[in-house]
């Protein structure tokens, strides 16, 4: 006795297998389309900008002559601004996540805070630019400086870091915390010695993703008044500045073909910076998560 005859079973099995193959094809297609787009982009950039990427492009300041224009000021500006944003948002974001997950837990206040933070992650970035303009540039009188730009980007990526860190902290098994409390550890000791080391790789991933986003942000920095033509390197926290995406935007919008090549070269530099940061993230994460496993 079987549920159906051999013939019925075989026919239905062919149908099932066909459906499976179609699904497989769709999934593979999705991957190929995404990769293909990226490939076209990279090829286009490479053929336009390849000839311009060299050491003098990286060490030169912008110029009226496209063949002399370089990315030096923008590259340094990006490094300064994103460095400040990364440090500030890491400290604030991880502390906030620890508070929400370990101390406040299920209080009404914490629930409200969580919902609001999740919403903040979706606020258009230009709004953060206006906020930064008002608070940092005007009220705190930092001017349109590297520091104000860094703080603005820190605000922008803070919700991402809080959400990612919260998730990493929540993923630490509660048996670990109980083990610590069972030995007479205080909340601080449990957080410091058990929860944070375990959550660190996840937190780090979130921070690097957030900072990678900050590298590419343009609108909020334009809104708070970053320059578009900067013939000097930032010389301190209160120096005026520009960043890579603004410089690229500036070159793209010029009529001369030479500037378009410079823009393509600038994008290549930006992509290399992003690639280096993501590579660093993967390296650090593996280093920390392999440290004591088996």
């Amino acid at each position: 006795m079987a549920l159906m005859t051999k013939g019925e079973f075989a026919r239905f099995k062919r149908k099932r297998e066909l459906k499976g193959r179609i699904f497989y094809g769709l999934c593979l297609g999705a991957v190929l389309v995404s990769l293909g787009m990226l490939g076209v982009l990279l090829f286009q950039l490479g053929s336009d900008g390849y000839s311009r990427v060299n050491w003098s492009f990286i060490t030169s300041f912008p110029s009226r002559h496209p063949e002399q224009a370089g990315i030096h000021a923008a590259l340094l500006g990006s490094i300064y601004v994103v460095g400040i944003a990364g440090i500030v948002s890491f400290v604030l974001g991880v502390s906030a996540a620890v508070y929400l997950e370990e101390y406040a837990q299920r209080s009404k206040f914490a629930q409200m805070a969580r919902i609001n933070i999740a919403n903040l992650a979706g606020v258009p970035s230009i709004v953060y630019g206006l906020l930064g303009l008002e608070i940092f540039v005007r009220v705190m009188e930092l001017g349109r400086s590297v520091l104000a730009g860094g703080f603005t980007l820190a605000l922008l990526v803070l919700p991402i870091i809080i959400v990612a860190s919260s998730e990493a902290i929540r993923a630490v098994p509660s048996s670990l915390r109980e083990g610590g409390f069972g030995l007479g550890a205080t909340r601080w000791q449990v957080v410091r010695h058990l929860v944070l080391p375990q959550a660190f790789p996840g937190i780090l991933t979130g921070v690097i993703l957030a900072v990678s986003r900050a590298v590419g942000e343009t609108a909020p920095l334009i809104a708070m008044g970053a320059l578009t033509f900067v013939p000097f390197a930032p010389d301190g926290p209160l120096s005026r500045f520009t960043v890579l995406p603004i410089q690229i935007f500036n070159w793209v919008s010029r009529p001369q073909a030479g500037f378009h090549e410079a823009a393509a070269a600038g994008i290549i530099v930006l992509l290399v910076v992003l690639l280096l940061m993501n590579g660093l993230a993967v390296f650090l994460r593996n280093k920390f998560s392999n440290r004591l496993e088996g």
């Binding site: 048996s175 083990g179 550890a185």
Partner: protein
């Protein structure tokens, strides 16, 4: 075997609630010093909840509340001026699933002494704790290796060593063998027999043979989920509970007629 012993933990009309709903109701029992006390009963009868109220681990559950008293060394551990951290330092705990920290074997055992500010010879203390937990010979050459590389039974003995290292007077064990194979279980049971010369042990177990084998006294609990949650049916010498219980519900449970 009726030996008069003094009491180390005395529960008086102890009740535990989760979100106002009773989980354990009105338990009064005297836990003897330097003996093994087993708590048995069907799943969900509140055994673990009762155990965790003996060192205030339930405080970590935001919705839990406790009424009644737990007298330990002459004071009620639920008095407002008592610090739960100190109680957990004096009354250690071993959990159902082995939960070694993702650190080296040495650092696992040294964790408790370090966080409590121990200033003596840490190497000696770690060695003694591992010897007492019958794990020293197996790990003495690889103290700096990860504790996560140990087998399940070794991990549980490491967790016992970790609890011993802060030299508690009572060790609470919440089904410590339920995730272990019979050989590892036997090792832990032998260990408990040796440990009870120096420590008082309370063990929650699903396994009635285990309770009969290792414990001096046994508490049998049942649950009335609609009204009062878990309650204590009978608490007596293990020899009596397992051969000639007073209550017919205990009789029915130990003879396997339900549960």
């Amino acid at each position: 075997m009726q030996v008069a012993t003094d009491t180390i933990i005395k529960a008086e009309e102890l009740s535990v609630f989760y979100s106002g709903k009773p989980a354990v109701s009105n338990v009064s029992m005297d836990v003897p010093r330097n003996q093994i006390t087993a708590i048995i009963g069907p799943s969900g009868c509140g055994k673990s909840t009762l155990l965790r109220s003996f060192n205030r681990m339930n405080d970590l559950v935001p919705t839990a509340s406790v009424t009644g008293r737990v007298i330990f060394e002459g004071r009620n551990i639920y008095d407002p001026e008592v610090d739960p951290t100190e109680i957990r330092y004096l009354i250690g705990m071993v959990f159902q699933r082995p939960n070694p920290f993702p650190k080296s074997i040495y650092d696992n055992v040294a964790f408790g002494p370090r966080i409590n500010g121990f200033r003596g010879n840490l190497n000696e203390l770690v060695e003694r704790s591992l010897v007492d937990a019958a794990l020293w010979d197996e790990v003495k050459d690889r103290l700096n290796q990860s504790a996560l590389a140990l087998s399940g039974g070794q991990q549980q003995r490491l967790c016992i060593a970790r609890a011993l290292a802060v030299e508690p007077s009572v060790i609470l064990m919440d089904e410590p063998c339920s995730a272990l194979d019979p050989i590892a279980t036997l090792a832990i049971e032998q260990l408990m027999n040796e440990l009870c010369e120096q420590y008082s042990i309370i063990i929650v177990t699903h396994n009635m043979q285990q309770a009969a084998r290792v414990s001096h006294k046994t508490a049998f609990m049942l649950s009335d989920e609609r009204n009062i949650g878990g309650f204590l049916v009978e608490f007596d010498e293990s020899s009596k509970i397992f051969t000639n219980p007073e209550d017919e519900r205990t009789e029915a449970y130990i003879s396997g007629r339900f549960g």
